[in-house]
């Protein structure tokens, strides 16, 4: 049918990019504009997300980009083999909607969004190879779906128990296997020096994160939780050297701010530990609601943030195989993911964080369809009750329309924490 108005029509790819840009800019603007005390050095991160998600700017040029489907693929090894790790966990509702046509209705939005992203083939930095650890069921199965879109996807065996020596040995073997496959793909041999350097570099990045957390432990908190999620999410894809520079600048500014006693929350704003399914840009729905309801997130126990930086690789001997073993131990033993049969570590860590960061309460969010987090909430709730730590459990997804119902629940919980505080004094 001919038409009488002449506009150029967007291609499906352009349309998807625009949808994602609209999602991204909405969040970036809100973070920038809602905040009374903007941090100058956060501009780098706001700009980074805008460049990547609104302008589709590629960051890594000709470098080999190694896509990782989960936190359990060691970046240390990827860097040592001259690749760039790109974490593919996705937080876009636009991609979630595309993935919904390919996965069961009740699947986890994060997995749907990741698959949807691949289905559209729309990447600013397209992964050259994808490593998919066999962590949760849905991610494990998603790997095979992604393969159909013309990507090389390699499974990395991951055990579901972490207490036994057998599982430790199993994963050490698995990591060596992964290393040799990546080494072959790159046509490069893993050298002692390169591996040592990348362990040191990531260790240094982690130390900067740890320094950042010290500011959040104090009574005067100079940075919002939502900004910290943005910083840690940037580690998914940013050039590590740029990220380190930006962090150093931020820490200098935070030092000044804490001396000037700039507190980003209110006088009796409750302090929150955030846990559960990972907040991934731009799905910061719940963190945003929390901090818009006069609370502040001081710490988190999630795989898109704290879990990436909390534990460092501890090396006994600086020989390649020893380093590889140390790396695999860090990625298995320190992990507090609810995919494990027993996961008391996670409960211990949440309680520890709550005490260390003087938190008034915990907010536990699970994506509808993220079975392991949904299942583990019962044991976490019981443990928190025992420890006398108030906790709120929320189920949510990526859709932008839930705001009203969720904010009422969060606000009520935060008000109850304020009342407790007042009664304590």
């Amino acid at each position: 049918m001919s038409t009488n108005i002449h506009h150029k029509i967007e291609s499906p790819k352009d349309r998807q990019n625009r949808h994602k840009a609209m999602e991204a800019i909405k969040l970036i603007n809100t973070i920038k504009e809602d905040f009374k005390f903007p941090i100058k050095s956060m501009e780098y991160f706001y700009d980074l997300f805008e460049r990547v998600y609104c302008k589709n700017e590629p960051l890594h040029g000709d470098k080999v980009k190694v896509g990782t489907m989960c936190i359990q693929i060691p970046s240390e090894i990827i860097y040592a083999l001259d690749g760039v790790p790109i974490r593919l966990c996705n937080g876009f509702y636009t991609d979630d909607e595309i993935g919904s046509d390919l996965l069961p209705q009740k699947a986890c939005p994060l997995v749907k969004a990741t698959v949807g992203h691949f289905a559209s083939g729309n990447f600013s930095d397209k992964p050259d190879i994808v490593f998919s650890p066999t962590t949760c069921d849905q991610k494990t199965k998603a790997g095979a779906i992604i393969e159909k879109f013309g990507h090389e996807v390699i499974d990395v065996d991951f055990p579901r128990t972490k207490e036994s020596e057998a599982s430790r040995e199993f994963f050490r073997k698995s990591i060596r296997e992964f290393t040799s496959k990546l080494s072959k793909f790159q046509g490069k041999k893993l050298s002692r020096k390169n591996l040592k350097d990348s362990i040191s570099k990531i260790g240094y990045a982690q130390s900067l994160y740890h320094k950042l957390t010290t500011y959040r432990q104090s009574d005067i908190v100079p940075i919002l939780g939502i900004d910290v999620f943005l910083i840690t999410n940037a580690f998914f894809f940013d050039k590590i050297d740029n990220w380190i520079d930006a962090m150093e600048a931020l820490l200098e500014e935070l030092e000044v701010r804490s001396k000037e006693k700039i507190h980003v929350a209110g006088k009796i704003s409750p302090r929150i530990v955030y846990t559960g399914s990972p907040p991934i840009f731009p799905n910061y729905k719940i963190p945003q609601i929390i901090e818009q309801s006069d609370a502040i997130i001081v710490a988190d126990e999630t795989c898109s943030s704290n879990r990436m930086f909390n534990d460092m690789v501890a090396v006994d001997e600086w020989l390649v195989n020893d380093m590889l073993d140390s790396i695999s131990d860090k990625y298995l033993k320190a992990c507090t993911c609810p995919i494990f049969t027993k996961n008391d570590d996670r409960i211990r860590r949440i309680i520890h964080l709550a005490k260390q960061y003087k938190a008034d309460g915990v907010i536990y969010q699970a994506f509808a369809g993220c079975t392991v987090y949904e299942m583990e909430q019962r044991s976490v709730l019981e443990a928190m009750e025992k420890a006398g730590i108030p906790i709120l459990y929320i189920e949510s997804d990526y859709s932008p329309s839930q705001h009203g119902q969720l904010s009422t629940r969060v606000e009520a919980f935060i008000e109850s924490l304020k009342t407790r505080r007042r009664n304590k004094k």
């Binding site: 049918m1 029509i9 625009r18 991204a24 800019i25 705001h403």
Partner: protein, 268 residues
């Protein structure tokens, strides 16, 4: 010579179209519905007849349609705006090709209508409980941005940044969202563009409910807004056809129905 009137009494405006026996448009007139539908419809019809040097006696058949159709007592027949819209759209787009899907955005509702190969309505979806994404919504937006509704189209194409979406599905809440965006010094153009895309996304969802079939026709007052047309085309990923006078399609369809009903009665 006999003439046939189609009177479409909508929530926001009254549209009247006169057709001859060959179903050609002889003239049309629109006016605001205001608070007295019947009175204003009468006045509009009188004005139109006066302009065409015709008399009420020249009208062989009157068909009323639209939200206020039952209030127009002199009508020989009442038909729903869905039927009238389909008939009018097919006639208006005759020289352009076949119509399979109709998008209509009115003052207070929006519709997606799906037609079969014979031009019969097979399915339709309506958003009739809320003013989100309707003409009223655009009025509210323009008022807040302190620009005319007719400027929205031009402003859309002047946007330079990422369109700023308005996520509230309610016109009332959207208003405060827009105030927030303005308060943070975002450009009027980027807001307008974002509003158009927010409406377009919603209307495309409605279209998908009835099934997207090529041969898409868009009418109703907001179809005069080229920015909104552009947004809907981008969301659908295909061209859509806009009639010369998008506001009067439904009243034209009612007038055509009048011709057919009159002829049928004559043959009985």
């Amino acid at each position: 010579m006999k003439y046939f009137a189609g009177i479409d009494i909508g929530s926001t405006s009254i549209k009247i179209t006169l057709a001859d026996e060959a179903k050609n448009i002889i003239g049309f007139k629109t006016s605001a519905s205001g608070s007295m539908f019947y009175k204003y419809a009468q006045e509009t019809l009188d004005t139109l007849l006066g302009e065409l040097n015709l008399d009420k006696k020249d009208l062989a058949y009157i068909v009323a349609t639209g939200y206020g159709r039952k209030l127009y007592k002199e009508a020989d027949e009442n038909i729903s705006e869905i039927t009238a819209n389909a008939i009018g759209a097919i006639a208006a787009a005759k020289e352009y090709g076949e119509i399979k899907t109709i998008i209509n955005i009115g003052g207070q509702d929006s519709k997606a209508i799906s037609l079969d190969n014979e031009g019969n309505v097979v399915n339709f979806a309506m958003n009739d409980r809320c003013a989100a994404g309707t003409g009223k919504f655009l009025d509210v937006v323009a008022l807040k941005l302190e620009i005319g509704v007719d400027e929205l189209g031009t402003r859309h194409f002047q946007a330079t940044g990422t369109p700023l979406s308005v996520s509230s599905t309610c016109a009332v809440f959207a208003e405060s969202e827009i105030i927030g965006l303005l308060g943070n010094n975002h450009s009027v153009e980027d807001i307008v563009c974002g509003v158009h895309y927010s409406i377009a996304k919603r209307i495309v969802k409605l279209v998908k409910r009835v099934g997207v079939k090529e041969g898409i026709y868009f009418d109703g007052g907001p179809a005069m807004n080229e920015g909104l047309v552009n947004a809907i085309e981008n969301e659908l990923g295909c061209k859509i056809f806009i009639p010369k006078h998008p506001q009067i399609t439904t009243s034209y369809g009612a007038a055509i129905m009048g011709v057919d009903s009159y002829k049928y009665e004559q043959n009985q």
